[in-house]
Amino acid sequence: MSGNSAHSVVEPTTTSKTVAGFLVILYALITMIPLFWIVITGFKSPPDSISYPPKVFFEPTLEGYCNLFTTRSRQTREYVEALGPPEGICDEITRKRQMVIVGDSNYWPRFQNSLIIAFGSTILAVFLGTLTAYGFSRFKVPLADDLLFFILSTRMMPPIAVAVPIYLMYRKLGLSDTALGMILLYTAVNVSLAVWLLKGFIDEIPREYEEAAMIDGYTRLQSFWKVVLPQATTGIAATAIFCLIFAWNEYAFAVLLTSGTAQTAPPFIPTIIGEGGLDWPAVAAGTTIFVVPILVFTILLRKQLLRGITFGAVRK
């Protein structure tokens, strides 16, 4: 027995807490190995990245990042040596490989597309989802259960099943390969998730708050804005993260429906492989940067995310 004088039935013992903590840390480390590998590969030189056995200790270089953001062309040694002093670190690294930078790569525009489309669709899905969920939660909607099931059922089909009709539809409407088209598509997919998640959260907010506000002289919309929304922030944050993760990572629709102007980062990153041989450091660098926004967003909202995941398991 530990030193606790009061024996508790529900409080775990120190030993079991230690064991549990150790297991959690171990699991966290194991799951983070791929992430760790991607981050270090981004700083390897191409030969180091494909060496066997894999190198954990290596000389770090920014070559992967330079290759990610630039396009280069191979030149003769004489040409490269005849050039003036290198401008910046990337220029220097590139010249060592007997190449010169001829322009920017498409990574940054693709990354911007990802930001616009993912955040745009998230905002739209959460906005529509909140209003819809509130409506279903508070009003007598005819056939509410059937409608909710119908909304959910849009989520049941794999993207590939609807890809062809959407492709044809988008071509007719002029939406294919546009940011607007992708925002609408991701919103359509996410809104079902948003409605279901948010309905649960809004159901938990007692009606009395709005009723009190309405009696206090506010209209329903004002009560919604001033009383319901502030209390639904946790749910909205959790929903936003789930929507953002989906839209950010989405690959199947993006690869089918975008090719140029509206292409997002996920379908772009694999194309790096084909450009100048197997340039794994550049791929890893692209992936690392791609992970950052979602990582920051998730860390900022981790408390809400946790509540969103365990939602319904524990009543407040």
Binding site: P206, E208, A212, M214, I215, D216, T219, V227, Q231
Partner: protein, 349 residues
């Protein structure tokens, strides 16, 4: 302040008739308590006045104006909910200021501040104004909830069991306070409770609701002394009225149709055993009973008696337990009996 009138108001939820043809006239400045068991339609009646429910039939008038089709915000009422319903994301101050900041009011910041602080004094919460509303005790939350209703100057106050979730001591204190505030403001107040003491002590008039119907409306004394049926008679009085078949009592001059008689505990005097001077002038309304047990309450004793197959309760002096032992026989005499027919309706002799 204003008067409130309900005219034949009915409300049903699917198959359940929650409020059934209720008509009440509440005068300006009157304190009316709706009393009844759970599911009697008390809260629904209140919500109908507030506009949170729409009646199927009948109309609601506030200050003589038909407001049946009005939204809650247009009715100029304030409501205290049973579960406080303080806005959890706001401080106490902001909770109190919330009604004043509504579009219905055009007050500037200093006016709002003054009103909030005045009300905070009134409900004795001034020292907690900057607390989060979730960081209060139950009694404090309730005071804030009442304060939020008082901060405006509405046509009518509606309160739904505002004291029910408090402990007995606090409930007693707030009861007195609330009545004082209501008198001071001359407020029209419609109050829902299932606590008869709250009803008796605060109400100008009590309305007894049962299964959605307004069974009786009158002053606490009228309701207590002159109930219209068994249900009302049993609702008020602690301990509850003794209900006995008419035939049990000897020498009763009951009305023809009466089948049940009700005798309040304080109208059942112990005349045997010498607890009271026995006046043997008439033999009517006397009965013999066996004492089963005595409940000591300090200032008085409750005597639980057996009379044939029936159990009855009466009151005795604070020291009666020293003089009578359980099992002893005693003679009782009933006064002021109330008679009811087979359906429980009052029969007046």
């Amino acid at each position: 302040m204003a008067n409130v009138t309900l005219r034949g108001v009915s409300k049903r939820f699917k198959n359940l008739v929650a409020v059934d043809d209720v008509s009440i006239d509440i005068a300006d400045g009157e304190f009316v308590v709706l009393l009844g068991p759970t599911g009697a339609g008390k809260t629904t009646t209140l919500r109908l006045v507030a506009g949170l429910e729409k009646p199927e039939a009948g109309s609601v008038l506030i200050d003589g104006k038909d407001v049946t089709g009005f939204a809650p915000s247009q009715r100029d009422v304030s409501f205290v909910f049973q579960q406080y319903s303080l806005y959890p994301h706001l401080s106490v101050r902001d909770n109190l200021a919330f009604p004043l900041k509504s579009p219905a009011h055009s007050l500037n910041a200093s006016q709002i501040k003054a009103r909030v602080e005045h009300v905070a004094e009134l409900v004795q919460i001034a020292h907690k104004l900057d607390n989060r509303s979730t960081a209060l005790s139950g009694g404090e939350m309730q005071r804030v909830a009442i304060g939020r209703a008082l901060v405006r100057d509405p046509a009518v106050f509606l309160m739904d069991e505002p004291l029910s979730s408090l402990d007995a001591k606090l409930r007693g204190d707030l009861r007195v306070e609330l009545k004082r505030i209501q008198k001071e403001l001359g407020a029209t107040l419609l109050y829902v409770t299932h606590d008869q003491i709250e009803a008796m002590t605060m109400a100008d008039r009590i309305g007894i609701l049962d299964e959605g119907r307004l069974v009786q409306l009158g002053t606490p004394r009228e309701i207590y002394e002159d109930p219209v049926n068994v249900h009302v008679a049993a609702r008020l009085g602690q301990p509850a009225i003794n209900l006995l078949p008419v035939s049990v009592m000897g020498g009763v001059s009951a009305p023809q149709s009466a089948s049940t008689m009700g005798i309040r505990t304080e109208h059942l005097d112990v005349i045997g055993q010498g607890t009271r001077a026995s006046d043997n002038d008439d033999a009517a309304m006397k009965v013999a009973a066996t004492l089963e047990r005595v409940e000591f309450l300090g200032d008085q004793n409750r005597l639980h008696l057996r009379m044939g197959d029936h159990r009855i309760v009466t009151l005795g002096d604070g020291d009666i337990e020293y003089r009578i032992q359980p099992g002893s026989e005693m003679t009782l005499r009933a006064r002021n009996a109330l008679y009811f027919d087979q359906n429980g309706e009052r029969v007046r002799g």
